[in-house]
Symmetry: C2
Subunit: 353 residues, 2 copies
């Protein structure tokens, strides 16, 4: 059972390959009779239709948008922020009738040429650390690229959030409620798998730009409020999971004096902190205030958080890529919003020890 191509059908009918091609893609170029006969024979021979790869090559378009993510794909799909973004991106792809191709990057010792070999027309790069090798591979492809959240590469379009301001808004919220002993739990600063207390130096040298800037926003708000940042307990976790959040929560709540508020840079982490508070029998928000980030899992838990326009960001990224506008180095900063729910309140008058 040899491969069936246009040529096979052409030979069988004694017509030219071009004629068979027209039968499939330009019905107006052929008489109805011949066209019918061609389609009949195609069916008979089990022809699978014009080969998409050959078509792509000839037409110079792949019909797909490539998406690159720094983490493993399992991790990406477990992150509500990323999934929300995908939703928007997928909507844009759908509207344009192109596929959304999620590309795995090599992790660990695994080699992979996915970026080099991906049959796509453009790339969306999300949360890659500054010098990640995949970034160079993407640029080498000379296709339209939009960077999301990080890294910001001058001269290339960017979609993101005003991280320092958003973080400062979250911090200011608890500071204005009167909290002075505040702990911070963050994920996504480095990719070395470290979980534990983070020194000032480690904080500032964070590999991931967006989270580094977000942290900077916290610090600025604290300093503006006259709170010494070096006294702020700062716990870093390696994975954005509820369990990691719980661990951070226990660490922070074990400090003496105990914080009356905890800031986290994801909602998932914040939920874990709530778990820790619950373990210790602490009333939230009576004895402890907790703030999340990105409003991705926050509603049910009554979490105060910073809402980000995930879907809109995804859609905008898609449109930028699909409209060809990605040639211009636009920089779209999407608005954020503080959503105050029931996880934050003024600190207790006389803190329980």
């Amino acid at each position: 059972m040899a491969r069936v191509t246009l040529q096979t059908i052409a030979d069988r009918l004694g017509v030219s390959r071009a004629t068979v091609s027209y039968a499939f893609s330009r019905p107006d170029q052929l008489s109805d009779g011949l066209r019918r006969r061609i389609l009949e024979v195609a069916d008979e021979l089990g022809y699978a239709g014009p080969n998409p790869t050959a078509r792509s090559l000839r037409l110079g378009r792949a019909g797909a948008l490539g998406m690159i993510f720094s983490e493993t794909l399992a991790y990406a799909f477990a992150d509500p922020y990323a999934v929300g973004f995908f939703q928007g991106l997928a909507t844009a792809a759908e509207d344009a009738g192109v596929g959304l191709c999620i590309l795995p990057l090599p992790h660990g010792d695994r080699r992979s040429e996915t970026v080099r070999d991906a049959v796509v027309d453009s790339f969306c790069v999300m949360s890659l650390p500054d010098g990640h090798p995949a970034l160079a591979e993407v640029f080498a492809r000379k296709l339209p690229v939009v960077m999301v959240d990080e890294p910001y590469v001058p001269g290339h379009p960017f979609v993101g959030t005003d991280e320092p301001t958003a973080a400062a808004t979250a911090a200011r919220h608890v500071l204005e409620l009167g909290h002075r002993r505040v702990g911070v739990a963050m994920v996504g600063l480095h990719d070395d798998g470290y979980t534990g207390w983070a020194s000032q130096e480690r904080q500032e040298s964070a590999l991931f730009e967006a989270m580094r800037r977000r942290r900077g926003g916290y610090q600025r708000a604290f300093e503006e409020a006259g709170v010494d940042w070096s006294g702020v307990p700062f716990y870093e976790v390696a994975r954005n999971t509820r369990a990691a959040g719980k661990k951070a929560g226990h660490a922070l709540l074990g400090c003496d004096p105990r914080p009356t508020a905890i800031l986290t840079n994801t909602d998932v982490l914040a939920l874990g902190v709530l778990d820790a508070a619950s373990d210790l029998g602490l009333d939230v928000p009576g004895e402890l205030s907790v703030v999340g980030f990105s409003d991705s899992a926050a509603e049910d838990a009554g979490l105060t958080t910073i809402r980000q326009a995930k879907r809109e960001m995804g859609e905008a990224t898609g449109r930028l890529l699909l409209s060809g506008a990605a040639a211009k180095p636009e920089r779209l900063i999407f608005p954020h919003e503080l959503i105050v729910r029931t996880s934050t309140a003024p600190p207790p008058r006389s803190p329980r020890r």
Copy 2:
């Protein structure tokens, strides 16, 4: 700025195209000196590397797995069950170093040739109604296909759940607790946008096979317990959202006599039913028991549900497709499990009116 191809570089250096190709893909075939010179010139000319589409054509492999979903992509990404499945599928794709290409289907009056033109090596088809035109387009491609949840097409590999048994398990749980006035809320039976009470005939003629079978499981369990199915209030909603679940909850809880338990075919719907119960000031599980399905959003809410191995199903599907085993018509039925949490209890002794 004309296109730079292997040939451009070859011409510039006065070598053959093949030599340049070897410089990129088979370093051992070339002297180091020439290879270096080739790469240098390539860089100089701004060559983007061997064209992936041409490569794909020549090598006969696309390096991507196509995924098809009956709903809009925004909807798919909003469904925790689907996202869980994606997680597993993506993991398998990642391990194999291939991309995961999510293909939009035409919706409404939109035309689209995405299935016909998708540059992929295989297809994963999830939850397509029996006669959906995309299914024929997929088969026409003559590539490996795995069907997930539905439709089951004899002779093709299938990955899914024992729907009738799983549903019967959920139903039996409340029946064994002593409930006799039970309501049912389901989504995903038809795709005509209908929301409201569903007649027996409408139930049985459901377009989507998996949900049709799931419903059959409920009915069987009721009949085995001696409960007349025709007296069971059955509310159907068009979309798998919390708001829709709430609407269904209000409808069902407005029945006289009021149900003491409600079965839903998704956790999202169940959360909505809990919202409705809360609106009415009903105690769960004291006055109302609620059961979800798929354990996708259930833990925090304490929802009793049927756990499905979403991730494992996705991974198995991926492996089937990527190992070439999809040629054999395997039928993988994954186990389910009743998870009893705090949303179910025996019915109240003397029901409040």
